[in-house]
Amino acid sequence: MSDKTVLIVGGGLDGVRTALEQAEAGAQVTIVEKFPTLGAERIPSDRLIRPEQAFMNPDLDKVRGHNNIRILTYSDIKKINRDNGNIRAHILKHSLRVDNSKCNDCKACIQVCPVNMFDDFDEGLGFRTAVDFCNITTGEYNIYKEDMPVCQETCPVNLDIRSYVGLIADGKHLESLAKIRERLPLPGSIGRICPHPCETACNRQYLDEPISICFLKRFVADVELDQGIEPVYETPEQKYPEKIAIIGAGPAGLTCAHDLARLGYEHIKIFEALPVPGGYLWVGIPEYRLPKKLLQREVDLICNMGVEIQYNTRIGKDVAFEDLKNDYDALFIGAGCHTGLKLRVPGEDDYEGIVDCVTFLREQALGNLPKAKGKLIVIGGGNAAIDSARVGWRMGFDEVYILYRRTKKEMPANSWEIDAAEHEGVILQYLAAPVEILGENGKVTGMKCIKMELGEPDASGRRRPVPIEGSEYIINAETIVPAISQGADLSFLSQGHNFELSRWNTFEIDEETGATNVPGVFAGGDVVTGPDIAIRAIAAGKHAAVGIHEYLRSK
């Protein structure tokens, strides 16, 4: 008898049959199957059958009773690798939550279970309860429980979506809003602009379409507005004396301030370089997607908790970073990514009329842009490019172009934003890239472009665009807005600082607490991740608030 040990991945027909063969030959066999039960009756698809031969059934009783076979059902392989010829596996066997040695098969649990879900074992043909035994002849009882529904798990701030959507279904809109505010201080704003990863994960999509979770959040926020209710964000009786400074009144900074105020901190001051709050929500997201009035109201609710915002104060210029560090007990950096990256083509720095998307959107939002004249070209395929184009179209440019070097399929912008831009009349030119900015008398007159084709996939998995030789053409335009990407501006840090930075010039932090390597200094949002979505910045603000609280209380 050999002592060979064999791991069989998958407890279907083939897995069970192979396990039995291997075990009969003397090997020590372990079967790992994701499902709570071994499966495996199948109709053959390699030979014609007569009705009485309908299903092939592996000998499950023999497998179950076999001394050489260990069965790990309801198990996932978490890690596996080949190590010196051996297979090393880390396996997680999920709890059944039922002690099957005590179970007497009375099915009372199934009769009372209020959960009614599609029966995954029967390919969704019938229904089952959350307690299940999978199959009369094979199953063990088990309870299918997750820590959170998939939407909540996907949401960066883990909003209790199932509860707040359920409350709307019951007509309890204000209760629903209160539920959202337990974890999110900006529901009206996020309910308008969030790219909603929760909807991408929503289980309803497998039946028809996902739930419109994001807009339901907006709905309850609007109900409160329409009813003229002025809510109060509560703070606790017990207060803490420590002073906390926050750099940037964007989603990360505002949320961090809100969560700290709710923990009982009363000396929180946000330093904001701009004359307005909200960071990218104010100066990046255009008015037609998020009205400023509404954003201002949500910021005011946070300020009413005792949070102070000092506007027009740029750290590193108006206040030295070192002073902040010395004057405050803890510091959160949520400075965002407000530097538009350059195209790196000839002519870029030579003419008036070329302005990066961050500046373009910001100056438009602050009302500092001259009147639109002539044509506008936006270069890039992200949401900032789409926003710039749709803003330009509203400003009154005669024609608005978006130039993108790949095709619509590869565009990183949300598909519904691209559709809206096209719908409004923005002209999208795919597979085209800038070659040179053209100008006369110091002003932009147009751009030389080149057509591209898609070659081999690059590191990002997208096919790399390659220029087609000799396909250059010219678009006349008076304004050109590169929307390539954005970077963080860390020039506010003092010379010779000792922060650990990534190669993208962003802060390295501890994900759980938001702590940087410098004690008492925390960071989060785009200044850590690079340009990303607001809800992830909010999540970072929340993590940092907890991190700061723990840091201050353990001091």
């Binding site: 297979i87 939550r97 939407c151 359920g166 009154g396």
Partner: protein, 271 residues
């Protein structure tokens, strides 16, 4: 049985499938040269209707009703997960119970009509341990169908898939015919050479089964849900149509990306 407890369901299933609410917007003309909010928000009735579409993700909510009911005290929410570190000499990767399939012609009405099902669902339906104890019924209304079409979902040049799905289609038909009185079964698919050479002659002789070499195009329902399904297909270069009570789509199996990467990582084929 559980079906007596309908009032205790979190949400009734009557609305599947139903499209999600679309955000109302102002017209494009109204947007030019101003910054008025483009999306106007859900009215209340729309929001409530949309919220009711939520499945509440029918997983255990931890309500502990079952725990209270369990006389032998077998239910214990605190039984922990087990983590195991194991070592083996060999690994064999099998497909397991992974039943994913490639997407197929959306015109065939799967997901739109409850009486259009996949071959995997049909297999469960035919099984004595399946949801209907092996009876062939329409999932739409529980009626016993008189006419069933088994149609090819993936029409490509994959000969091996075509052959195995044709054999599976014939075998499923044989079982359904055996279980159901006065049933008319029609199998519509392009036929591959190996099927014609080795299996066609025998399959053709099965009473009640008609095999048509053709391509299914679309499935429609004429008026209300009680009408039969109208299958349009082409055969011998002609467009045809025929009514059925249940349509079964032959799917092409797909290995999950998870298994693919496992196989790649361990340099081991999937059997």
């Amino acid at each position: 049985m559980i079906y007596e407890k309908e009032t205790r369901y979190i949400i009734p299933f009557g609305d599947v499938p139903s499209p999600r609410a679309e955000m109302p917007e102002i017209s494009v003309d109204e947007r030019r040269e101003n910054f008025t909010e483009a999306e106007t928000g859900f009215p209340e009735d729309m929001a409530i209707h949309e919220a009711k579409r939520c499945l509440g993700c029918r997983r255990c909510l931890g309500c502990a009703l079952c725990w209270a009911e369990c006389k032998p005290e077998a239910i214990d929410f605190d039984i922990p997960d087990q983590e195991l570190e194991l070592e083996f000499d060999e690994v064999i990767i099998t497909k397991g119970q992974n039943n994913a399939f490639y997407s197929f012609n959306p015109q065939l009405g799967y997901g739109k009509y409850a009486d259009v099902i996949t071959d995997l669902q049909f297999e469960r339906m035919l099984s004595p341990t399946g949801p209907f104890n092996g009876m062939v019924v329409s999932p739409l209304d529980g009626e016993i169908p008189g006419r069933i079409a088994v149609v090819q979902g993936n029409i490509d040049n994959d000969e091996a898939h075509l052959l195995s799905s044709l054999i599976l289609g014939v075998n499923q038909s044989v079982i359904a015919l055996d279980k159901t009185k006065d049933l008319e079964m029609v199998l519509i698919s392009p036929l591959c050479q190996s099927f014609q050479e080795k299996f066609f002659a025998e399959a053709e002789k099965i009473p009640g089964l008609q095999i048509i070499a053709g391509s299914p195009e679309s499935v429609e329902k004429e008026r209300d849900a009680k009408e039969p399904l109208l299958l349009k297909y082409s055969a011998n270069g002609e467009d045809k149509q025929k009514a059925f009570d249940l349509i079964v789509i032959l799917t092409k199996p797909k290995i999950s990306p998870e298994l693919e990467s496992l196989s790649k990582k361990l340099k081991q084929d999937i059997i």
